[in-house]
């Protein structure tokens, strides 16, 4: 019997790695942190919309939050961690994805990928820059220090007037509305795909999930942008009726 030479190149099989370093593991972290950020934003939007209930309601709400100082700081620290993970993984995944195709196509075409899905990194980075400014503007009151001295008749910090004074500046309002567009555009792809990343999808329900994602993203845009628009249109005005 002649011996058959089986030529087989020894295969270097990768050792199963840590969840955090695998592609799917990182994507799952993106989906979870993204969803937490979305949940936080829904709460933030509902809080903000109380501006339409008047000065007293909004300032009372702001004071309640202030009295929950320890809870607020826990939430802030958690959100800082969540956003750091989301931004860090977002950038590193994007860099790796770019490196996966070192030679580009001369003729590039797109069949069905949405523009929102292809611009996640840019809408995301835009939002990140906006969040930094937004915190300096309204939370830490660094850019407009005069806001710190605003108080209502009950001696509470006058958040209501602060918001109106801020949005009466056209540039601030425009930046805010553009940022909210980035947010909803980012969310339109995110909400349509986070269940897929977390392992749940059915071809039959995919169009419905996408529709829900787009609708919620649009509602978020309308909810947040309604405030600067209402201020600019004079629907929400300063307590003294001043503009």
């Amino acid at each position: 019997m002649s011996s058959t030479q089986v030529s087989s190149t020894p295969v270097q099989v990768a050792a199963p790695s840590n969840t955090l370093t695998t592609s799917i593991g990182r994507k799952v972290f993106m989906a979870i942190t993204g969803f937490l950020l979305f949940g936080w934003l829904v709460g933030h939007m509902i809080g903000n919309l109380q501006i339409f209930l008047g000065q007293d309601k909004l300032n009372a709400y702001a004071l309640t939050l202030k009295h929950l100082a320890s809870v607020i700081w826990i939430v802030r620290i958690v959100m800082l961690a969540v956003i750091s993970i989301h931004v860090f993984y977002g950038i590193t995944l994007w860099l790796r994805n770019r490196a996966s195709r070192p030679v580009k196509y001369v003729k590039e075409a797109t069949v069905q990928a949405t523009l929102a899905s292809r611009t996640m990194i840019w809408t995301g980075l835009g939002l990140f820059l906006f969040i930094v400014y937004h915190l300096l503007h309204y939370t830490f009151i660094v850019t407009n220090p005069q806001y710190a001295d605003l108080h209502d008749s009950l001696g509470r910090h006058d958040v209501y007037s602060m918001v109106i004074l801020g949005f009466q500046n056209y540039l601030i309002s425009i930046v805010y509305i553009v940022a909210m567009f980035c947010l909803s555009y980012h969310l339109s792809h995110a909400l349509a795909s986070f269940l897929q990343t977390l392992g749940w999808n059915k071809t039959e329900v995919q169009p419905l999930i996408k529709k829900i994602g787009y609708t919620v993203a649009t509602l978020m845009f309308l909810g947040f942008s309604s405030i600067p628009i209402a201020v600019l249109l004079g629907i929400v005005t300063l307590p003294g009726g001043g503009h």
Binding site: V13, S23, S100, V111, A113
Partner: protein, 247 residues
Amino acid sequence: MNLTLYVWRQKNAQDKGHMETYEARDVSPHMSFLEMLDVVNEQLLLDGKEPIAFDHDCREGICGMCSMTINGIPHGPEKGTTVCQLHMRHFHDGDKIYIEPWRARAFPVVKDLIVDRTAFDRIMQAGGFISVNTGGTPDANTIPISKKAADTAMDAAACIGCGACVAACKNASAMLFVSAKVSHLVNLPQGKIEAAERVRKMVAQMDKEGFGNCTNYDECEAVCPKEIPVKFIAQMNREFLKAKFKK
């Protein structure tokens, strides 16, 4: 019909490569895309030039060998077909056609339009199998399998491993291919035994090969000649998470 072809020419893996222009004259609308290239190559040979190298085998749309990106779309503009099943009647006289190889770090160009897809083989060797003891052929139907599970597994098993999903993905991700293999096996009882180990190893190998990550563009399912849906990627993600919790 007469066509202008812009074709990627690259001598070997070390060569930088470039686009070259060819005129394809009197192309019959009944030709397949590969037959059109055969005719162009015959002319190139008559002219004493190097013919365009491209992969092909069965020419019946089942082997997954033909691999070229036509006007930016892997396997060309027709949905659910391989290049060999794409006919010239879908093009018009005077069309300009760009023909390029699959573009991915994990699929290096060997020559012209031919790329090295052994990265897929290594992913399969990492876990794309079931272990069976040798012996007589098992009787049919000894293990009951529901119609639904059999159908789902069969849909995933339709994957011919051509790599169009990688070529189409903006991230050059291999998730549709790997998920088709994972789902094909895990939906059947025989594949459940090694399910956790399989998905872990295949994903690790996929990452090691340098493919990108899935960001849910869904470009892969749009170009897949076997129309494999992205729901299998969701199933792979689920299997991967299940495997993590099992550890």
